[in-house]
Symmetry: none
Subunit: 230 residues, 4 copies
């Protein structure tokens, strides 16, 4: 990541700075804010430069053009979650706890990184043409599937999980339960008149998600185990 994905992170001490890496990184941060706020078509190169306390020519100097800058921003976003996932510790000796940890991590990442959610949506609106063109992405995401598989296998071996669950399918379910909640929060709020982003609502949602995923993976014999104990 440039340095940090949060919506308005720049962290540079002043506007007269000179360190080239700083400049590039400030532009990238600014681009993430801009693209995730307005989409590709709606993003303004002027605003990106201004927010990074530099000028358009610098932006073109470092990134070539608007589209390439968008791609760089997208890759930075993905580098962010990849890095966070890699730091995530999942204790295989306790499969249920590992699932809980994974669900919580995933949801909280979406909650804490709305720019991530918006960039993914933006890229999907564009049918992932940029991501596809960037190549080399498939390998990066093997690791999370491998780890889910390991958890499932261990759970099955211990007799507490069902057999036959596809790791990717499960990953999509875990992701989906939190992603749409964050991604669609605005239309849902209008349509149903409820704010979904209060701390209380977020915690409630995490409970539901965890409950749902665990009930899904558990073997029928072990179904009675309590879920609300957290």
């Amino acid at each position: 990541m440039a340095s940090d994905n949060s919506e308005n992170a720049t962290g540079n001490p002043g506007s007269g700075e000179r360190a080239p890496k700083r400049r590039r990184s400030a532009l990238l941060d600014s681009a993430i804010v801009e693209f995730s706020t307005y989409g590709i078509g709606g993003a303004r190169v002027d605003r990106i430069a201004e927010r990074a306390n530099t000028n358009k020519a610098m932006l073109y100097h470092y990134f070539g053009n608007k589209d390439d800058l968008y791609l760089a921003a997208l890759q930075d976003i993905y580098a962010g979650i990849r890095g966070a996932e890699n730091e995530l510790e999942l204790d295989l000796s306790a499969p249920e706890a590992a699932i809980r940890t994974l669900v919580a991590f995933t949801f909280r990442y979406y909650v804490d990184n709305p720019a991530f959610v918006r960039m993914i949506n933006t890229e999907n609106l564009h049918r992932a043409v940029h991501l596809r063109a960037a190549g080399d992405m498939t390998t990066l995401n093997r690791s999370i599937l491998d780890r889910i598989k390991a958890i499932l296998d261990r759970g099955v071996a211990e007799g507490i999980f069902r057999e036959g669950i596809d790791p990717l399918d499960l990953y999509i379910s875990i992701s989906a339960l939190g992603f749409t909640y964050i991604s669609n929060q605005h239309t849902l709020a209008v349509l149903f008149g409820r704010d979904l982003t209060t701390d209380e609502a977020i915690e409630k949602r995490l409970e539901t998600m965890t409950d749902m995923v665990l009930r899904f993976v558990r073997s029928d014999r072990h179904h009675a185990a309590s879920d609300s104990a957290r």
Copy 2:
């Protein structure tokens, strides 16, 4: 809906037609395709007019400006799912079957109406400002929550469903499991190298979703019931 949400629907016989409703409707269809493909900032008024076999002056005549046209397209999209939901029959006397029907309907609607999914995402990228400004949306969506509540109540009364499940929370879960699957299909395909939209993959996904939702709502005593029987 204008007439139909499918990606390239127009269905008008020729360019020399006279029915004004046809023109309006063709413009609306075209706008839905355009906005759902490029977002608001990326949408082009020229393309919308051209795809509707008319000219920009007509578009401005009927809809005032680009933003109002977007709003009309968004409302049309919501009218579409509202109409479909109203026609959906849920048999209260069989709560599990009703849940199955609801899950299947919801998912298939997303599968069959990608423009719907894209418009929702676009509107959320804009923080639902247009939808909020349009007002009067809350009432429209009470009905689906009421019906879910009725199903849950009946299931609890019959002893087959758990108590304490929030209808909106459940609705969001049902929606989410399918919405993200469709919405994020392009990035997921690139990241994991698997096409999620084959008929087989879609049916598999529906099974997972149904299984997950039913396991979530069932009371623990009734948990052993088979889910794969469809």
Copy 3:
């Protein structure tokens, strides 16, 4: 041609005109002036629009982009000389007179149409990439070679011209003797301190050219014929 190649021709009655062909034609005339004055890289789209009493957007509306406008200007320039050549009458029954007419026509065309000369030079600086890309040019220029061949054949039949002269080679010589004189007039004037474009100098040059070409084509027996009788 748009209407006329002369350096500042527009000929439109006022700036508030509406006829679309006029606009296009005014833009083309303006483009010819601009490109022949500044070259492709030095030409300014703003100036072209302003000189045509319109705005840049119209220019892009009609011609797509700067390069395509340049190509249109180039084709217009070639259409101009092609049209003039087609109207040129060469009396085959008097081969020497026909050569005289051809030489005079060619030189006077360069003298009267400096924009033509400059455009040809500009296109050659670009290695004729635009002309080559435009295609279909070869056929257009067969006619002048055919006519030169007819003149030469007749002169040979009459015993007054030599055999074995290549029509294209002769055409290039006729063209060259006048083209460089006009094309390089500015550097020649600086280097040798003589203005080559006075009426007197032009007439003198035409005499030299005619003399040189006729002495080249005449059979040796008929060499004594006077050339200065005009």
Copy 4:
């Protein structure tokens, strides 16, 4: 000349060199290639520096600005032909042979130095403003006219050349017959579908030029002399 006009000459051993004259000369060579390829408006300062394996600051250090660099390049180009002409030996005791030598030298210089031809054209497109501003050019080119005059005078004295031929007019003719052939080779090739730059075509053209010039200068009595004997 800086060192050599050939299109891609640099000849410096590496980027870490120290000789300042080398740097200046490499920049000048690069500038000639650039200006003769793209014209003044189309030339890019970045490309000039890059091709000279240095950076823009050096360019500005040595030459001040783009326009001054262009002037330096132009002067270098003229210095090149001036030097070559000075080394050219014309045997006055054989006027016909001297003319042959002059014609051949002139043509071959154009053939071997396309950058020269292109720079002359570029400067003429700019109406020779730079050359005029550079001053002091007239004197430099007296010598070639003086030598032509000497040849003509000797030929007249020997009775083999006509009287009354203007040396500058003759020089322009000699130059023109070869200059346009090289200068306009690209458009001519497109328009007439023939490659004019094969070795064979070049030799043929030189024959034509020599023939034409000699027939022009010869007195009528001596006209029967063979020209093709080379």
